[in-house]
Symmetry: C2
């Protein structure tokens, strides 16, 4: 009969931080499917039911991990943006380009995390109507949004006039703008539209690369990413600096 580790064998009591970090480690090493309560507990030298002291369920834990990854990514992006700003004297174009490339760099070095945030939702994990993940996800989105907003305020690029937008879409955009709070007040809906289009392209290019769905054609999708930026820059009144 093997004796389970007694209270005295564990140096101290567990914390939610430790649990999430362990979950994270397992995610990176063995993929999203391997992040089980048992695996986490095993790694921490305890048993699975103990984790219920800290999280209501497996799903709850996963959501907190996702939220953590979101803030980590957001912080990473903001750092990269600041650094680009510093080394270019606050040039906005450089900032937004740096943000895009840093997003790609992070995604490729954190594929598992990327899948957790942007891939198909795990079975039994409903991120959509969840408080914390929605908040952190919003923060992430805002990071890109404020860049485009700043860009537009300084060098206004043309956006579709509100009246020229399909009424159904217009209504949705108005709701979206209202949800943005003071960040969105007074903004033309066309600007939100531009933002969504940029995000769509960025997301599509990156998720194809990260998930390996471009493998049928390419090994290294880096040049494709750059092409996407070249294509998309004009949408926000920027010319992508070609270095050739």
């Amino acid at each position: 009969m093997v004796q389970a580790p007694s209270r005295r064998d564990r140096a101290r009591t567990a914390t939610t931080q430790e649990i999430k970090q362990t979950a994270r480690r397992i995610l990176v090493q063995d993929g999203p499917g391997a992040v089980s309560l048992r695996a986490i507990a095993r790694e921490m030298g305890m048993t699975a039911p103990a984790l219920y002291r800290y999280f209501d369920s497996h799903e709850e834990l996963i959501k907190h991990v996702i939220a953590d990854i979101f803030t980590e990514l957001t912080d990473d992006l903001r750092t990269a943006i600041e650094s680009a700003s510093a080394s270019s004297g606050g040039n906005l174009t450089d900032k937004v380009i740096a943000a895009c490339w840093e997003f790609r760099r992070w995604s490729l070095t954190h594929k598992r995390e990327f899948g957790m945030l942007f891939g198909t939702p795990l079975p039994g994990v409903n991120v959509e109507q969840d408080e914390i993940t929605a908040d952190r996800g919003g923060e992430f989105g805002n990071t890109f949004f404020v860049l485009i907003l700043e860009l537009w305020r300084k060098h206004p690029f043309p956006v579709t006039a509100d009246e020229a937008i399909d009424p159904g879409l217009r209504q949705q955009l108005e709701r979206y703008r209202d949800g943005l709070g003071e960040l969105g007040t007074g903004l033309p809906l066309g600007l939100l539209l531009i933002f969504l289009r940029c995000w769509t392209r960025l997301y599509g290019t990156l998720s194809l690369e990260v998930f390996g769905h471009l493998g049928f054609a390419l090994d290294d999708a880096g040049p494709m990413f750059e092409l996407m930026l070249v294509d998309t820059a004009p949408l926000i009144g920027v010319e992508y600096p070609q270095q050739r």
Copy 2:
């Protein structure tokens, strides 16, 4: 003690078709995570190990299901393309637009299947270096590719000259072209590049919508899809017909 159904209780012997159909039904009803051997067997009135007579493993079964979905989608697209061709006197623009909209329609009415094909790979299911899924996936891609190819042959739109393409990318595109067989012989690499760019935008727009990742801004992403088509049409020398 409940008696398991004896051979006589089952009308006839199972077929791989039935198994895959059952798996499919479960996929649609309960999501990808619910497609377990036990669930399939239960639904069919048999026991899980029996399925090993027909498939080497759970993974193998899933791969065949994926392959089936690919061919189904491809057939669906080809039918839509033909029908659009018939009702427009063979107009190429109409065909390619019909293909895109049909792809969206199919994806939204088959979200689970879409996730299976284009989402994050299921744990323990390696579609990448698999024979059958790669083939069927290739067929799917070709469906779009031949449209663009036809379009280019009839009304050549400008493509980046081979020499103007980043050498690293060029090399990959050459390999990709070689892999296309006779379909690709003699084609400018820039054409492949256009195709990949179109696919990236289509995929990004659609997967954001299907996976609900646009929920933070929009409920109905239909207008965004159309905007994407409007944006992308010029890449292949087409003007998207605005009906307003």
